[in-house]
């Protein structure tokens, strides 16, 4: 990304915040992976390793009353919306203090108070839901925006089509992100779609689209900011394809031997944290000592989160029976 544009359009403070969230995401997910390898976390572990800039970039561009409907590689978005590292670990550990109180695991985190719609494993299911949240803002005439995300594989589902089409027809305030990390589990994009770019799909819905360097947090942030501003001012939805690479397996159990090593080597050089550090140094906003301080800071935050989560109680087995139905009191306001 052209650094003169970055210098002009993003403040130093914001860039340093973006960098902090990249580091917090990386450190937290590395810790989750370590806990999984130690057998302390059971179940699936899905990380955004090497793709952190996408969720960090889009979530940072939102305002407090906006809403996100993320997918499973959006850890940075949870953190920016105020979900703490401790809550994330508690969720992974199945603790009562996790956002779903043990009912659901890993990144299936939702909290309406913080504007986070819970993720559903069925990819693209959250796209019609995001469209509906945007419809509510549209009906009430409220200036809020919804951002949702899915992977390259998720764009093959009918719900992707139905959501994109409906949002475009009604000009709803929703921004569709696609994390094109080139593999849906083991399936490469060439076996997923016949178009060259996922963004090409948007044309079919009459929706403007952009291709963004998904490893450049400044580029993602600026593209998100533009699309969100457009949606907020009644300009309708935008589709943003972020090109990136999934540097780990689909889940941490998956060694991903189906991905050519040369591809991983190539993308390792484009690591979003390395890129962000180079940008901050060139702009004269930060130096190695600063990066080291941030690393130490996020490590402490993650340590504290792990400690809090591990000390948190597990739910009682009988809590299984709670919460199938909502009560009147919950919707009274």
């Amino acid at each position: 990304m052209d650094l003169s544009v970055v210098a002009k359009d993003i403040t130093r403070t914001d860039l340093l915040h973006l960098y902090y969230y990249l580091q917090l995401t990386r450190t937290l997910e590395n810790r989750i992976t370590a806990l999984y390898r130690q057998g302390r976390i059971v179940g699936g572990v899905y990380t955004s390793h090497g793709m952190e800039a996408i969720a960090v970039g889009y979530a940072f561009a939102l305002q407090s009353q906006d809403v996100i409907a993320p997918y499973h590689r959006d850890m940075g978005a949870f953190l920016i919306r105020g979900i703490t590292p401790g809550e994330v670990i508690a969720q992974y550990l199945g603790k009562r203090t996790g956002p779903t109180k043990g009912k659901d695991g890993n990144v299936h985190i939702g909290d309406l108070k913080r504007g986070v719609i819970g993720f559903v494993s069925h990819l693209a299911d959250n796209l019609p839901v995001a469209t509906g949240a945007a419809l509510a803002f549209h009906i009430r005439g409220e200036p809020h925006v919804v951002v949702t995300n899915t992977g390259d594989g998720g764009t093959s589902r009918g719900d992707f089509h139905e959501a994109m089409n409906f949002a475009a027809v009604r000009k709803l305030p929703v921004v569709f992100f696609c994390n094109n990390n080139q593999y849906a589990y083991s399936t490469p994009v060439r076996n997923q779609m016949a178009v060259a770019n996922v963004a090409d799909r948007a044309t079919g819905y009459g929706m403007p689209a952009e291709i963004v360097d998904g490893n450049d947090v400044a580029a993602v942030y600026l593209a998100a900011r533009r699309a969100i501003q457009k949606a907020r001012s009644g300009g309708g939805p935008t589709f943003l394809e972020c090109k990136t690479m999934r540097m780990h397996g689909h889940s941490e159990h998956d060694p991903a031997k189906y991905v050519p090593q040369a591809l991983l080597d190539e993308w390792k050089k484009k690591d979003p944290i390395v890129k962000a550090e180079a940008m901050l140094k060139t702009l004269g906003y930060a130096d190695e000592a600063y990066f080291h301080d941030i690393e130490e800071r996020v490590k402490k935050e993650v340590d504290a989160g792990v400690e809090w989560a591990e000390q948190s109680p597990l739910p009682d087995g009988r809590e299984t029976l709670d919460g199938v139905f909502a009560t009147e009191a919950e919707v009274a306001s």
């Binding site: 939702g110 559903v120 469209t131 509906g132 139905e162």
Partner: protein
Amino acid sequence: MTTGLADAMTSHEVTYLEAISQALDEEMSRDERVFLMGEDIGAYGGAFKITEGFLQKYGDHRVLDTPLAESGIVGAAIGAAMMGLRPVVEMQFADFISCAFDQIIEVAAKNHYRWNAPVPMVIRAPFGGGVHGGPFHSECPEGWFFHSPGLKLVAPSTPYDAKGLLKAAIRDPNPVIYFEHKFLYRRIKAVLPTEDYIVPIGKAEVKRTGGTISVITYGAMVHLALEAATVLEKENIQLEVVDLRTLIPLDKETIYESVRKTSKAIMLHEDNKTGGIGAEIAALLAEDCFDSLDGPVLRVAAPDTPVPFSTPMEEFFLPKASDIVAAARMLAAY
């Protein structure tokens, strides 16, 4: 044509269909969070004209004609419900709900359980046969949802219940599938109260009292059971007709009370026999009312086939009053 909209707040007889229109109209007037989504519900007024006149009265922000995409419609309703609105989705025919199955089961039904976010929405599903609809316009899909925790299911049999249950469904904090029977739309009429009322979700009603056999049923089959009861009365077989009205949560108390009195039970439904609601109620009676039973629990239901089109085949498929009469005579002999 006369719609429920024009008839609201009058005291003459209204059809089952008009009762549904009245409920929608009154709830939209009462609560500005309520809005409608569906295919052809706006200018056209819906395939059955239930929302005729609504677009003019409430505008296109509250009466939304959608693209032909049931999953997208239901998903959008879920998102809007989570943001505080009260969407009422019309499935043009209940059969098309299969396209939205994933959103209903995986998103709407599990949402509150998983992360505490209520989804107060209603899906209206015009269901049932007897209208020459064939395999894709006659289905009774309630069994699919009966097995999915997190949903409420209602199926009214009268204009009074149709109106009261729809109002209750719209006010409920949970996703409710409202099964309205197409055969009843214009065939039954009643004078409804002029004041606001609801029929509480979760309450069955004994539509006819009798001491010989309990017939446990819902939807259009209630009327068939009442017809059979008239025939059997002459033979001194008194049917008690229990109209479930709500399928989930099931009113076990009313079912058990009736069966403990009569000691005999017939499950009656238009849905396919295997794995239907009748099977579940039969199992409940075996578990909880075994000591009261004086005979086998019988099921009168449609065979395990799709709904056929041709008239003699559809007549064969649908349960008939004579089927109930035969089952009741057999059971009465125990």
